[in-house]
């Protein structure tokens, strides 16, 4: 109901790799999503609410659960979609505890958008995760 009642869904992104921050506009806005802000760390997010936060944990210096709490302390307890290249145990634990939806950066953009939507609707998102992480 997010999109119907309040216009496009507003997405904030946390991306440590400065070079790739601009790429998120193309990834997010190809769907019915609106990129609200891209920050380098959770603490740099604008102190206003949004509908969902995409959290690229690669390059961040804290465990996933800590990063999620930092996001929540900054923008409120919004849904979080974690993206990573190689899911570590802390990332998998956050997913298992229902704190975030997880999607890998090897997924095509359409699948990443589907994961963002799933997170925003607080639905499950299934993606095969390679073994041996």
């Amino acid at each position: 109901m997010l999109q119907d009642e309040r216009g496009p869904m507003r997405v904030c992104v946390v991306e440590a790799q400065a070079l790739f921050r601009d790429a998120w506009r193309g990834i997010v806005e190809a769907g019915d999503l609106e990129l609200d802000a891209v920050a380098g760390t959770p603490d740099e997010l604008p102190a206003r609410s949004c509908d969902v936060v995409v959290l690229d944990v690669d390059g961040q210096r804290e465990p996933c659960a800590t990063l999620i709490r930092r996001v929540w302390s900054r923008v409120g307890k919004v849904p979080v979609c974690v993206v990573t290249l190689r899911p570590t145990h802390d990332v998998l634990a956050s997913r298992a505890h229902g704190e975030a939806v997880l999607v890998l950066k090897t997924a095509p953009p359409s699948q990443v958008r589907a994961a963002i939507w799933a997170a925003a609707r607080r639905e499950r998102f299934e993606q095969a995760i390679p073994s041996g992480v």
Binding site: L19, F20, G59, R86, T106, P108, V112
Partner: protein
């Protein structure tokens, strides 16, 4: 137009890297999410742009193999890694340039233009712990 083979395991960002290479005047011959040495040798690019962050690859091993097996290919390392000695180590193992992912789009295009024109870029930001 210099040919560039892009290795970007974060395939979500592959198109962005290819776009930046194009903006810098390079011709992307392939963008791959995996490091396939045979494919690189077969493509025979002038440059290989390597982003091996967050993977199991050891950069110095990869550079060493490239230097041995594809000596005409100039490896350009793109990284968010940081630490003292990083530039010297990369150079010693055969990197032609090291560009930090702390770069803005404008900086990256500038740096790539320098590299593709035959120059070198050693971004000191990777040395900052």
């Amino acid at each position: 137009m210099p040919s560039v083979y892009v290795v970007e395991p974060q395939s979500l960002f592959g198109p962005e890297i290819a776009r930046l290479v194009g903006e810098a005047g390079g011709r992307v011959v392939a963008t791959s999410a995996v490091l396939d040495l045979d494919a690189i040798i077969a493509a025979a690019p002038e440059f290989v742009l390597l982003d091996l962050d967050y993977t199991f690859y050891d950069l110095t091993d990869v550079l060493d193999v490239l230097r041995s097996e594809a000596p005409l290919v100039r490896p350009v390392v793109l990284t968010a890694e940081r630490g003292r000695g990083w530039l010297a180590r990369s150079r010693a193992f055969g990197a032609a340039s090291v560009v930090a992912k702390a770069a803005s789009e404008r900086e990256m295009i500038h740096d790539l233009r320098v590299v593709l024109a035959g120059g070198s870029v050693w971004d000191v930001r990777v040395e900052v712990a």
